[in-house]
Each structure stands twice: as structure tokens, then as C-alpha cells.
């Protein structure tokens, strides 16, 4: 683990312009990241990377350390220990070169209150070297956002739309989105998913922190789950879903057989009239063999979704 101050001072720093990343190349490489706020250990030594072109979902409950990690990556926070390389550069020393290649939606969104949406975009445009007015108008129309209103007059959802415009207006290599759909209605959440997919199709990489598991399930190629500042799981969405228990629902012609809760691999069995529900905690073959010998009138085996995986994971950790 390298102290950030010393790491920054090392003579092995690459040149500021590390050039565009090639497909599959690591855009972000985090090693041994630790961040303490006094006695509070917000991030406790995490390692992960993001490869070019992927959408990485960053999951975890409040206080898991997601925003702290993102703010360290952006050099808004200085890590207690560990090393971060973004585009092969050091955020501490090469911040402007790095931030020119990414856009960011903060989790706790606060915008300058006296500016209109248009003025804010122009201000950011001056800092980023201009913007495409046609793209601005197109995004405003898609997000149904009135850019002539002052940001303090905007609802939470409309402020979030404006932040999304700031993220999608510039052709960034990396989009860092921290709870980007918080406060958006379902239609706009759908539009957001479309925008993320379009950005990925255009070659962008997306680092998506979210509480909305369905949104991550629909968009992310890979997921990292954080709990109390540590990574507790990572893999593709399919891999995480595969770890979750399937849910089984069975209807019988008569009363539910008395031995159902003794069948190997079934857990959390509940019985209601002629219907039983359970979760599949082991191989499904012995369960099916048992049921084949029973007067079953209906059977439903539900695929677990990311939420099930997430809840299972947290129950295990707890």
C-alpha cells in the first residue's frame, strides 16, 4: 500500500497526456484504497478496476463508501492510503488532464442557484472549451427540461435532469454517475438508461453508482457491491444473480405434503392452503424428484434478480 503523498512524488509518474485508452484497457485502477474521516473508516482497502467500454455498477447501501470512493477518484478527497490511476494518470497531480476526459454527476446534487440551466451549461462550456448547441437542445428535449428557468426554481427531478445534461453533453471517455436517477420519474429513468446505452455504444465507459438495482441490472456489465467500506462481491450481473436463491412456488391438488420442509435444498418454506413457497438453497434435482411424486397442480420457479442477490449478500454478511 502506497501513501498517496509519496506515490505522487515518485519519479515514475507518466507524462500528463497518457493518450486515449484502447479497447479492454484499464481506464481506472484502484489499489488498496483507504479513506478515513478521523475515527470513521469510510473505505477500508478496496481494489477494483474499470475497463474501457464497460458499464460498472457500484452498489451498496447508504454509508457503504460508494460516494467516498468516487470522490477520491475525482481528487475531491485525498485518500488516507492506496493508489488510484485514471487513464494511467494520477488524479492528485494530473487532475485537469483527467477531468477533461470524464464527466460527473454528483450524488448530493447542488447547483449554483441564481443561474438558469442555459447559463450553467455555458459556464461549464467555457471551462471545458465549448459545447455542441444542437446536442444541448436535443438533450433538453429528450429530458423535457426547460433551460430558461433558474436552478433554484427547478424541482429535485429537474435539477437531476440538468446534471444529467452536464454529463451527457460532452463526449467523455468516462462517465462517473453517482446516484444519477435519484428523484427522476420512471419515464426519465428509462430515458437515462437509453442515454447510458447510447454513450456505451459510442465508446464511453460508465461508472454507475446506484441504489436502483433494476437500473443497474438493465445497464451494467459488471457489478461491485460495497458494504462498510469493503467490497463484498463483484462479478457480472449474471454471476451475482446465480449466487442468489431461486424462489419456488408450488400448488397442490390437496393439502401441502407434511414432509415438504424436510426436503434437502429447500429453505424458508411457508404454507398457505394448497400453496407452498420456499427458496432453493441447494441443487434443484432432489426437490423436483420429491415433487414429481406429489399431487402437484402448478409449479413456478422464479429467476432471482439483482435485488435478491443483493439482499442475500447482505443477509450473509450480517
Amino acid at each position: 500500500m502506497i501513501e498517496p503523498e509519496r506515490a505522487g512524488a515518485a519519479s515514475s509518474r507518466p507524462p500528463v497526456d497518457a493518450g486515449p485508452a484502447s479497447p479492454g484497457e484499464r481506464l481506472l485502477d484502484v489499489k488498496g484504497l483507504v479513506k478515513h474521516y478521523g475515527p470513521v473508516k469510510a473505505v477500508r482497502g478496496i481494489d477494483f478496476d474499470i475497463r474501457k467500454g464497460e458499464i460498472l455498477g457500484f452498489l451498496g447501501p447508504n454509508g457503504a463508501g460508494k460516494s467516498t470512493t468516487i470522490r477520491c477518484v475525482l481528487d475531491l478527497l485525498r485518500p488516507t492510503a492506496g493508489q488510484i490511476r485514471l487513464f494511467g494518470l494520477d488524479p492528485r497531480h494530473d487532475g485537469p488532464a483527467i477531468r477533461a476526459r470524464l464527466t460527473y454527476v454528483p450524488g448530493e446534487l447542488r447547483l449554483p442557484e441564481r443561474m438558469t440551466g442555459s447559463q450553467l451549461i455555458e459556464t461549464i462550456g467555457h471551462l471545458r472549451g465549448g459545447f455542441d448547441a444542437t446536442r444541448r437542445d436535443e438533450l433538453a428535449a429528450r429530458l423535457k427540461l426547460d433551460l430558461s428557468r433558474r436552478t433554484r426554481q427547478l424541482s429535485t427531478g429537474n435539477r437531476r435532469k440538468l446534471a444529467l445534461m452536464l454529463a451527457f453533453l460532452w463526449p467523455a471517455e468516462l462517465l462517473i454517475l453517482d446516484e444519477p436517477t435519484s428523484g427522476l420519474d420512471p419515464l426519465m429513468q428509462h430515458e437515462f438508461v437509453c442515454l447510458v446505452r447510447e454513450a456505451r455504444d459510442a465508446g464511453a465507459t460508465v461508472f454507475l453508482s446506484s441504489h436502483v438495482l433494476s437500473e443497474v441490472q438493465r445497464t451494467a456489465d459488471r457489478v461491485i457491491v460495497l458494504r462498510s467500506g469493503k467490497i463484498v462481491a463483484q462479478g457480472t450481473v449474471e454471476e451475482l444473480r446465480g449466487k442468489a436463491r431461486q424462489r419456488l412456488e408450488v400448488w397442490f391438488d390437496g393439502p401441502v405434503p407434511a414432509g415438504l420442509d424436510k426436503v434437502a435444498g429447500l429453505a424458508d418454506v411457508t404454507v398457505e392452503d394448497h400453496r407452498a413457497t420456499a427458496s432453493v438453497a441447494g441443487p434443484i434435482r432432489p426437490i423436483l424428484a420429491y415433487l414429481a411424486a406429489q399431487p402437484v397442480s402448478g409449479l413456478l420457479v422464479e429467476e432471482p434478480d439483482l435485488e435478491d442477490a443483493f439482499l442475500d449478500l447482505y443477509e450473509e454478511q450480517a
Binding site: 470522490r71 485525498r78 487532475g95 485537469p96 477531468r99 448530493e108 447542488r110 461549464i124 472549451g129
Partner: protein, 268 residues
Amino acid sequence: MNARNLELVLGPVRAIMRAALIWAVCIAAIVFVTVAVWPAFKGNDSIDQAMNNLPSGVVQAFGLEGFGTPAGFLRGNLYDFFVPLLMAGAAVGFANSLTSSEEDGGRLEVILAQPVTRQAIFAGRVIAALVWVAVVTVVISIVQFGSDAVFDLQIGADRLLATLLLCGLLAGFTAGLSFAVAGLIGKPSIVLGVGLFVAVGGCIVAALFPLSSSLADFAHVSPWDWAFAGNPLSNATEAWRYLALGVPAVALAAFGVWAFGRRDVSAA
């Protein structure tokens, strides 16, 4: 200056324009109204006699010496206390609202995520605040000179300019101090507390400490003493007084820029 750097200054300039103009107009109005009553004091010996009957400490503390003269009138009514204190308060407010208040409110994060250095962002805000301190000083100066002409208050332009410049530099000093604290800590309550404590406390120290033989020497720690102990409305001002305020103002602001680049930025 390219468009990016210009935006880093003009954005903050626009952000506090309304507040700065309100401060400028209010202080200028106080100046105008005060000078407007000068004709009632002009040539009135009984005012001087009344002041002479006050304890010498009170006269000294409140700058009431020569109250019947143009210099004494302006000093006692405006430049011994009100105008410098209001300008210093405004400067602390400008510095706070452009830095720690923005940071604490989370509004700086969108700007900090752009391809500019933290130091450049903070420096742009320092320049914006100092520009408005200068504008406020100029507005007050224009109103002061205009009022003097209208109400026939005859005082040397060089003395008046020196006094106004010292007021502006004192405000710049408190702004610089506020920027230093904002760069180091970024908590609005602390920035305002330290800035206003030095502004108000410095005024009290400079006014009251000279009345006590045991405290008199400590009056020199106050920036108000550096600015006004030489009575600039009546006497020529030594060059070191400008430097004593201006150099630390720049140094403190530069320290704030440096410190802001080395710490965590608060989240909302």
C-alpha cells in the same frame, strides 16, 4: 487570459454582484447622508467646546478630536469606525460566500469536476472578491468626493484618497484572512467568525488599548492601528501603512489558494 481563466473570475464576479452593489450603495448612502449634515457643523465653535468637555479618553477612543473641522468631522462620523468596519464586513462576506459557503453547500463540486485546477478555481474567487472590494472603494470614493463638493466640505483630496485607500486595503486584508481560513478549513462559520473577529476586535483594540498604559503597546497588533493610527485625514500617510495591509492581504490569499489545493473538499 483565455476563456477558461476568464470564466473562473467572471463567474464569481457575477455571483456576488448583487450583494456587492447593495453593500456599495448602502455604505455610499451613509457617507452621503453624513456629509449632508456637515453644513450644520461647519464653523460651529460650540461643537468643539462640547467635545472638549468630554473625557479625553472618550474623545480619543471615538475619534472626536477636532470634530468641528472637516477632517475631524469625517473621522469621527465615518472613517474612525463605520466605513472601515462596514467595508471589512463586506469583504469577509464576499470571501465567505465565494468559497466556504459554496463548498459547504456542495455547489463547488460541479465546478471542481471540470478540467481546471482547484487552485485556479480558488484564485479566481480571490480575484473576484478583491475586484468587488475595489469597486466598493471606488463607489464610496466617488460619493465622498461628490458629497464634499455639494455640501462644501473642504478637505485635501490627497488625505481623503489616502484614507479611502487604507479603508480598501483594510477590507482587502480581512478578505485575505478569510480566504486563508477558507482555504485551510472551508467551514463558513469559522471563516465568518475569524474574519469578523479580526475586523471588530481589531477596531476595539485600536480604539481602546491606547487608553491603558499597560495595553497601549499591544494596540500595534491591530490592522486598524496600521491603517489609521497616523490619522490619515489630517496627516500624510507613511508608505509602510499601505504595505502593512496590502502585502499580508496578498500573502494570506495566496496561502488560502495553496491550502485549498491540499485538503479534502467537503461534500454537501
